[in-house]
């Protein structure tokens, strides 16, 4: 790690595993349940949040000394809302189908507790570079869980990955379907996303006992 000091590197690596926003802090669950039925949507969501958090944290950090503390939540909301509108417009312009699929959940990035949480907890008290790293790190930690959940849900629920059939054709009965395999419709429902997240939490905590709280 020549580029980053050890302390700075931890800002990126911690949220990926031992301080993951979803599996440890259990934040941002709503969007993790809502849009992970397809891997593509999960990836787009992860990238959108990455952009909003990276830029947002820097902006908040830059103006942190001139925000009156009484109205800081409003200011933070304005920053997130502006960034989310940019993301939304870009998606509508270049990936219209996908933006329709994500529907309100792009707009709801505004209410993603991870973003406001990082603004409050980190960007308001740290410099530009560290805030940027923190934003990127948390967004990556969020995104990696989204992508894992999306991978399993799309693979087992629809038999496809990124829309490409990988297990054969369920109607023509080729590949796995020729021996009686069927897609698991439960995987496409939100409760199963919660269970998949739960299983990730379970696996993570049984590998690292220090994470188990009483």
């Amino acid at each position: 790690m020549g580029l980053l000091s050890k302390k700075d590197a931890a800002l990126i690596t911690d949220p990926l595993a031992d301080n993951n926003p979803i599996t440890i802090q259990v934040l941002g669950i709503c969007s993790a349940l809502a849009i992970t039925a397809q891997l593509k949507a999960s990836i787009v969501m992860a990238i959108s949040v990455l952009f909003v958090m990276g830029v947002g944290n820097v902006v908040i950090s830059a103006i942190r000394n001139i925000i009156p503390s009484k109205i800081r939540i409003i200011v933070q909301l304005t920053v997130v809302a502006a960034l989310v509108i940019i993301v939304d417009q870009v998606l509508k312009a270049f990936a219209y189908e996908l933006s329709k699929e994500l529907s309100v959940f792009v707009g709801l990035i505004i209410t993603n507790c991870i973003i406001m949480g990082r603004f409050e907890a980190f960007a308001l008290g740290n410099g530009l570079w560290r805030s940027f790293l923190d934003g990127i790190g948390n967004a990556l930690g969020y995104g990696i869980i989204l992508i894992i959940v999306g991978f399993f849900r799309e693979l087992l629920g629809s038999g496809t990955l990124l829309g490409i059939p990988v297990l054969g054709d369920p109607i023509a009965k080729t590949g796995l379907y020729s021996i009686g395999y069927e897609n698991n419709g439960f995987m496409l429902l939100s409760p199963m996303a919660l269970i998949v997240v739960g299983i990730i939490i379970w696996v993570q905590r049984s590998r690292n006992k220090a994470l188990i709280e009483d």
Binding site: E182, F186, M187
Partner: protein, 402 residues
Amino acid sequence: MGLKQNLHNFKVKNKDKKWLPGFNALFTFLYMPNETTHGGTHIKAADDLKRTMNTVIMALVPCLIFGMFNAGYQHYLALGEIDAANGFLGASFWTWDNLVIGLLKVLPLVAVSYGVGLAVEFIFAIIKGHEVEEGYLVTGMLVPLIVPIDIPLWMLAVAVIFGVVIGKEVFGGTGMNILNPALTIRAFLFFAYPTWMSGDKVWVHGAVERAGTPDAISGETLLGAYAQNTSLAGIDYMDMFWGLIPGSVGETSKFLIIVGGLFLIFTKIGSWRIMLSTLVGALAMGLIFNGVVDAGWIGESSKFYGLMSVPFWQHLIIGSILFGAVYMATDPVTASQTNKGKWIYGFLIGFISIMIRVFNPAYPEGVFLAILLMNVFAPTIDHYVVQGNVKRRMKRLKAKVA
């Protein structure tokens, strides 16, 4: 030095090995172990978990055997090869041909349910280093009884793994589960593979593979027909009562379920409060719906009319509410523990079951959903019952002191 002593010595010699719980499970299945409980025991009672479970299994066996005959009977009846049996002892029901179909279709379900479920239990016992728990004995018997006859075995296996791991082991194993594992398995199948768990084809053996061919046969349950507002000419209420109708493997015979229920009440294994209050709840909801129809608020054009206009007492015999009330709702782990709580818990199960049945034609069999829902609320009900009791006694105490 008999075999038992040799096995015991083997156990002592290997007491640090990881696989020992697996060995113990088989060992105690065959023999009583040579040791008693260590440390202080608090409860001294003659009926242990195994006796409780064995009693429930005994109560289930008639349903299972009936289910086997019924599997063949429905199959041949739908094909038009035999005449209707007309009553419980009808000549065309208790035949060898019917039993063969039943054995071929039902025994694999039982084998998969037990094989997979116990394998999961073994693995968890070895990982966690505790004794294998008996918890799966009853679940393993219930599962084949509450699935359609033609369910593919691999689906059942996947569902059993899911149900035992997510429904039970993650909460800490037998006795710790919030949800009834058998119903968790059914719910998983229902939402994961709806085409195999509902609709008008899956309830009679052979109906799925014949669908769309000139040989197609109907595999619909009566409840499904009601939910679709199909007219039901010539349905014999006695057939429903005896169980000569299509349905999940073991839930059709109301007569045998009542016998099993009485057996459970008599042996004090099942709670009569829960059974009775569930039926009362179902009848109450049925009466309300009948009242709505009588008042003319719902016309024949409504999609709810079919099930809403069913006379209230028939709700008890057209679906699996009786099976749910007797074998599912009374599960001592997931039900309410207090007596007053049991009344509330059971009543709401019956009430919600019929509500789901009528209002959601996609899920005419709402009993399992209602029981799972009330499983979740059971601890809350208990909490308020206990708190209410505490408050009342506090008041009494104050009155005495003052």
